[in-house]
């Protein structure tokens, strides 16, 4: 906030302290006043509440006692009339029956009533005797029709003019009548002629077991003197008062008990603000309020604090009233005291504030003067010693400010030195940044070349990748072909194995044939041996025949034929042998050729097996080749990807270098600006006086 005029610290301190003290005192006073007022109001309200509660309990207790008395009295009165009452129809009597509520009169003629032979209609001996015995009032009612009601024919109840209320009747609308007609006893508060009584009514039953009348006993509520006196004696404060307002329907607002206005109906009375406070009290029945009520005697308007409670048994509203001014008189006294004290406090604070403001402002003034010198660049002078010697915050402040001046002086000296060094360094920095800028330009160009080369490499890698893809595809195809060839080889091997097995069977068959031939050979040999032996025998026979001479000639012939037979056999066996030889040679040749074939087949099988192994290896190789191709594809793709990343990185590096070039230029520019700034700073520092 800009103050249009200059206000010194001293004045500010003074005004501030006075203002703070005043505000504080006023705040405390206000709060205290309000708090005290609230406390006093609460206390007053509680006091009035206590009064009304006390009176309420008192009235209730009194009522209950009275009702008990009335109940007892009824029994006494009933003793006199029960079973002894009769109507004499031969002696009718005429009344002007008056409704006790509306006061409307109706002429009626009814038979007279007698109790133990004594007429009681318009006779008061019995009722007076009973009244004397039990106190209160006693009435004998006779039931009447047209209109329906209970007619007082003998009573001790008096009208306002003092006359007995004979001829008045309780209408059929009354709760008393209704209760009696139910042959029940009515006990409670009831309106009797012109007032409210604590009553008891009991039906009188005639000889024909019909209700012929009612016996009544009662005590006027307002004639309970003890209660009345008690109520009137209770008051809150010197000018407080208590009273009772009637809340019955037909007498609402009437002062039942009052020190001076008993019987007066104040229902429509209003306070000074126009509030119909009595009607409000009768409406709310329980509560409190503050009203400006004019005094009925003097007419002075006084603020009253009212507390009221409803006693439904008696139809009363008990009101306790307190004078507001009387209640709040301590508060007013407190207010006055606080005003005096506040004024004194303000005076005291003004004096004290003046002293402290002077004390503070001198130090501040000195410091301000020093700051002026500092503003002009003179750091050679310090704060006066007496200011620094003070034992308060200003002394500390002066001390610290003096320190600050010294530190600043030293700092400026160092800054001056540093500025010179800085100027030299900035000069060097400018030169270096220029060199860096030049170098970065060269690097940028070189990186661009690298980027170009990498782009070519990238495209080449992509071509290689596509080629490798093709190779991989072909490798996979080759693998498929090899697999097919492998399966064919496998089939071939199986076929060769079958051929081998068949061949082996053939060889086995041939061998078996050879075995059989050998067995034939054995037979032939046997035949040959037999033939040979036969031939030998024939020879021997021939020899014997020859030795026998002529005698053995025939024998010689036989032997010769036998020999010839043997020779023939031998010759045949030789032929057979030749044939067998031929067969055997053939079978041997066949075996040989078969074995050669087998050998060939075995060689073929071995070759096929080797071929299968080779194919296996080829297949493995093809698989490896395909896998390797795929790995190569993956590697190449990775390489392509890596190349792309490298290319991207190089582009970023190139971009970074470009940015670096730009920033280097900016650095160069900044260093030159710094150089200018440092020279300006040096020039600026030159004007400070440090010693």
């Amino acid at each position: 906030m800009n103050i249009p005029f200059r206000v010194s610290i001293r004045h500010k301190i003074l005004i501030g302290s006075i203002g703070i003290a005043t505000i504080a005192c006023l705040s405390i006073a206000m709060l205290s006043y309000i708090k005290a007022g609230s406390i006093i109001d609460n206390a007053a309200e509680q006091g009035l509440t206590g009064v009304t509660n006390h009176l309420l309990n008192l009235c209730r207790t009194n009522y209950e006692l009275s009702q008990k008395t009335v109940n007892y009295n009824l029994n006494v009165a009933d003793f006199f009339v029960k079973g002894k009452t009769e109507l004499r129809y031969n002696r009718p009597i005429r009344y002007d029956a008056e409704d006790q509520i509306t006061h409307a009169k109706t002429p009626v003629t009814i038979p007279t009533m007698a109790v133990e032979g004594t007429f009681v209609s318009n006779s008061f001996g019995l009722v007076d005797r009973v009244t004397d015995m039990i106190g209160g009032t006693v009435t004998i009612f006779q039931r009447m029709t047209r209109p329906n009601g209970l007619l007082r024919i003998s009573t001790s109840v008096k009208r306002k003019d003092g006359s007995r209320a004979v001829g008045t009747y309780i209408p059929e609308s009354s709760p008393v009548y209704k209760t009696i007609m139910r042959r029940e006893t009515f006990r409670g508060n009831a309106f009797v002629v012109n007032d409210w009584y604590i009553t008891a009514y009991k039906p009188i039953i005639g000889a024909g077991n019909e209700i012929i009348g009612t016996i009544y006993v009662g005590i006027k509520q307002s004639e309970m003197d003890v209660l009345r006196n008690k109520i009137l004696s209770v008051k809150h404060g010197a000018s407080g008062s208590t009273y009772v307002i009637d809340d019955h329907e037909n007498s609402r607002g009437t002062l039942v008990i009052h020190s001076s206005m008993e019987g007066t109906n104040i229902l429509d009375r209003k306070d000074a603000d126009g509030v119909a406070y009595v009607r409000e009290i009768c409406s709310r029945k329980n509560g409190s309020g503050v009203y400006s009520i004019p005094d009925p005697v003097s007419g002075d308007v006084r603020t009253k604090m009212l507390q009221y409670r409803h006693l439904p048994e008696m139809g009363w509203i008990i009101v306790a009233e307190g004078d507001y001014d009387e209640i709040n008189s301590p508060l007013f006294s407190l207010r006055n005291t606080m005003i005096v004290v506040g004024i004194l406090c303000v005076i005291f604070i003004v004096v004290l504030g003046t002293y402290f403001s002077n004390s503070v402002s001198s130090v501040v003034r000195n410091i301000v003067n020093r700051i002026k010198l500092l503003k002009e660049g003179d750091f050679s002078k310090d704060i006066p010693g007496e200011d620094m010697a003070r034992n308060d915050e200003f002394g500390v402040m002066a001390h610290h400010f003096s320190q600050l001046i010294q530190n600043t002086r030293e700092l400026l000296g160092k800054v001056r030195q540093t500025t010179e060094v800085l100027t030299e360094s900035i000069q060097d920095l400018t030169i270096s940044s220029k060199e860096i800028s030049s170098t970065s330009n060269q690097q940028a160009a070189a990186v661009k070349e690298i980027v170009s080369t990498m782009e070519d490499s990238d495209s080449l890698s992509k071509k290689v990748a596509s080629r490798i893809d093709e190779v991989a595809r072909i490798a996979n195809q080759t693998k498929e072909f090899v697999e097919k060839g492998f399966s064919l080889i496998k089939e071939t091997l199986e076929k060769m194995e079958d051929i081998q097995n068949t061949n082996a069977e053939n060889i086995s068959g041939v061998r078996s044939l050879g075995t059989q031939i050998e067995s034939i050979w054995e037979v032939v040999n046997i035949i040959n041996g037999i033939a040979d032996q036969t031939k030998i025998i024939a020879f021997n026979a021939e020899l014997e025949a020859s030795a026998a001479g002529d005698a053995g000639k025939n024998f010689q012939i036989v032997a010769s034929e036998v020999r010839r037979l043997a020779d023939s056999t031998v010759s045949s066996t030789n032929e057979i042998r030749q044939k067998i030889d031929e067969i055997q040679r053939s079978s041997d040749n066949l075996v040989l050729s078969t074995e050669r074939g087998t050998e060939r087949i075995r060689e073929g099988w071995e070759r096929s097996t080797k071929l299968r192994e080779v194919f296996d290896e080829i297949l493995n190789s093809a698989e490896v080749s395909a896998a390797s191709s795929e790995q190569i594809v993956a590697s190449v793709n990775q390489q392509v990807s890596a190349f792309e990343q490298i290319l991207l990185t190089l582009r970023q590096i190139s971009q970074g270098i470009d940015d670096f070039v730009v920033s280097t230029r900016a650095t160069t520019s900044a260093s030159e600006s710094l150089k200018e700034t440092s020279e300006d700073l040096k020039a600026s520092l030159a004007k400070y006086i440090l010693s």
């Binding site: 041996g529 040979d532 032996q533 031939k535 030998i536 020879f539 021997n540 021939e542 020899l543 020859s546 030795a547 002529d550 000639k553 025939n554 012939i557 036989v558 034929e561 020999r563 010839r564 037979l565 020779d567 023939s568 010759s571």
Partner: protein
């Protein structure tokens, strides 16, 4: 080779009984019965009347400390016969054969191992060429021509004498 049946054989026997002198019908020439045998593929002959019998597959018992042309002994009906290997004698090579030709002799029980017996052939004296001049000639009596093949006739006696000499010298 034609083999006569029984009827033909009986007929020939009956015819031959009337021709008992056929062998002498060749005018005063003596027909010598030569037994032609083979040693390996060479044929030799001996006078058939010097041969007792021919046996086959007879057990041969080896004799130590005898000349190498002595193959061993055979036991023929309780009589031991010394078996000569003529091949060893002629060619100094051992003969592998199963037939043994037992010679007739009262004192020398000799047998020759032969490969086979070819035939017994009647050769007239004019067909036999006697050989007397050399050492080998002493082993052979001579030779004959049988169906164009020259066959030497073994001098059995000489072989007996040689064996005796050799045995004495052992």
């Amino acid at each position: 080779m034609y083999i006569m049946d029984n009827d033909e054989l009986i007929a020939k026997l009956e015819s031959s009984s009337g021709e008992g002198e056929d062998t002498l019908s060749v005018e005063e020439e003596i027909i010598h019965k030569l037994l032609i045998f083979q040693i390996d593929d060479r044929k030799y002959a001996v006078y058939a009347d010097l041969v007792k019998e021919i046996v086959i597959n007879h057990d041969l018992y080896f004799i130590p400390f005898v000349p190498p042309y002595i193959t061993g002994l055979i036991n023929r009906q309780g009589q031991p016969y010394t078996v000569f290997d003529l091949k060893m004698l002629f060619t100094n090579e051992r003969l592998q054969a199963s037939k043994v030709m037992i010679m007739k002799s009262d004192s020398d029980f000799i047998a020759f191992m032969i490969t086979d017996v070819a035939e017994i052939s009647g050769i007239p004296s004019s067909g036999i060429n006697l050989v007397v001049s050399s050492e080998t000639e002493s082993t052979f009596i001579g030779s004959c021509n049988l169906r164009g093949e020259e066959i030497f006739i073994i001098n059995v006696q000489e072989i007996y004498n040689r064996l005796a000499n050799d045995l004495q010298n052992i």
